[in-house]
Amino acid sequence: MTSMMHDHITALLQKEMREDGRKPLEYRKPIKVEYDISPKSAEGSARVTIGETIVVAGVKLEVGAPFPDSQDEGNIMVNVELTPLSNPEYELGPPSVVAIEYARVVDRALREGHALDTKKLCIKEGEKVWTVIVDLYPINDAGNLFDAFSLAALAALKNANFPTFDKKTEKIDYKKKTKTPLPLDKSPLEVTVIKINGTLMVDPTIEEWKSVDARLTVGVLENGVICAMQKGGPKALTMEDISKMVDIAVEHTAKLRKLL
């Protein structure tokens, strides 16, 4: 079955066609970002739709001790749970390596792209800092979770406000949200470019994703500078491929960022 789909997809690509009629470098429609999907409970939240793919993101804030090597900085954490609700192939249980990769790749762009000014997340040096936790869930997994998660994470961070923190009792009042947004300095965003049988393309469907020879996720900042990368897939890439893939990612991250 997989091999039949693979043959079908590669045969179509030779004619510059895809199973759903798109061009190789075209995203599915609609693409949209909706905010405040969980305004009562999350500090920030968003839903991203790319074609039939739907993911949600929520931001929660906690207060804790800083790490020994960054006494005056807060932290960011990204978590992905591949809900069996979203895809018949996902199962319950501890996070699979697939879920871990999604979380770490999204985390890498946010962290290395310095999305948040972590110094502004410090409450008292050496004692108390904010930890920002981004939780990502697919609702309908119809492919390209990497791009959807990256966009949703950034949208939820943008949507988030601090809860009230009482310095005397050292307790968070989650019910009283302040009007202070998170110190979102930069907007690192990721686009994944895939290669099937020599053709470079974006926004793969599930079937295309299963036929990938190689993939490259590229995190890009507003000024076009790269801040994170992850190569995957069973085959190798040439230098020329990488150069083209980065150009494609830079172009599409700029387009996607406009949705925020």
Partner: protein, 232 residues
Amino acid sequence: MKRNDGRAPEELRKMEAKTGIIKRADGSAMFRIGETIAYAAVYGPRELHPKFMQNPEKGLLRCNYNMMAFSGSGDRVRPSANRRSREISMVIEKALEPVLDLTAYPNAVIDIFIELVQTDAGTRCAGICAAAMALADAGIPMKDLVSALSVGYLRNEIVVDINGEEDMNEGATDIAFACLPITGEVSLLQVDGEIKKDVLLKALDKAKEAAMKIAEVQRKALKERYHDKHDA
């Protein structure tokens, strides 16, 4: 008595229901009551794994209830199943099973996954409402719908569909209730708190009345799916 959100004692929170929202699933639905939002997806009947669990006489109804990490009222909810979510998953299965004929699916499983995006009390009941709609959306033969809500006993008065504030801070006796709207049979009943028998019976009557209103919302959403042909 005034309720904290201005509702009358027998007034439900605003409801919203949709079906077919998760295209990869065999059936799916969203049910919202007040600030509580539940998604449900049905997969199956499909082959049951591991194989030793298969039963040639009867299929299995398997449910998983989960609160998203950001969906709680305070701190982040740690992911993965805990004792609370396991028990809730189990009572949801029992609340839905009476409307299904599982003997029609030997060796198979019907999986229901419920995810809460936001919570403000009544999450298991919202989950049941969404799951019942998702089962119908999946085309699985059902004797009846299942409609669920929580009723409370607060300051000597019965209140319908309690919210988080009434449940956690005002100390209402909380009754989780589900019934089959056609026959009125009860398929979920859990009571947390003190209540006298005569009050309980009155509360259950009010719960049943309210469940009829919920059933209307569920039916309407199921019908809408087939009215709007452009949606597909």
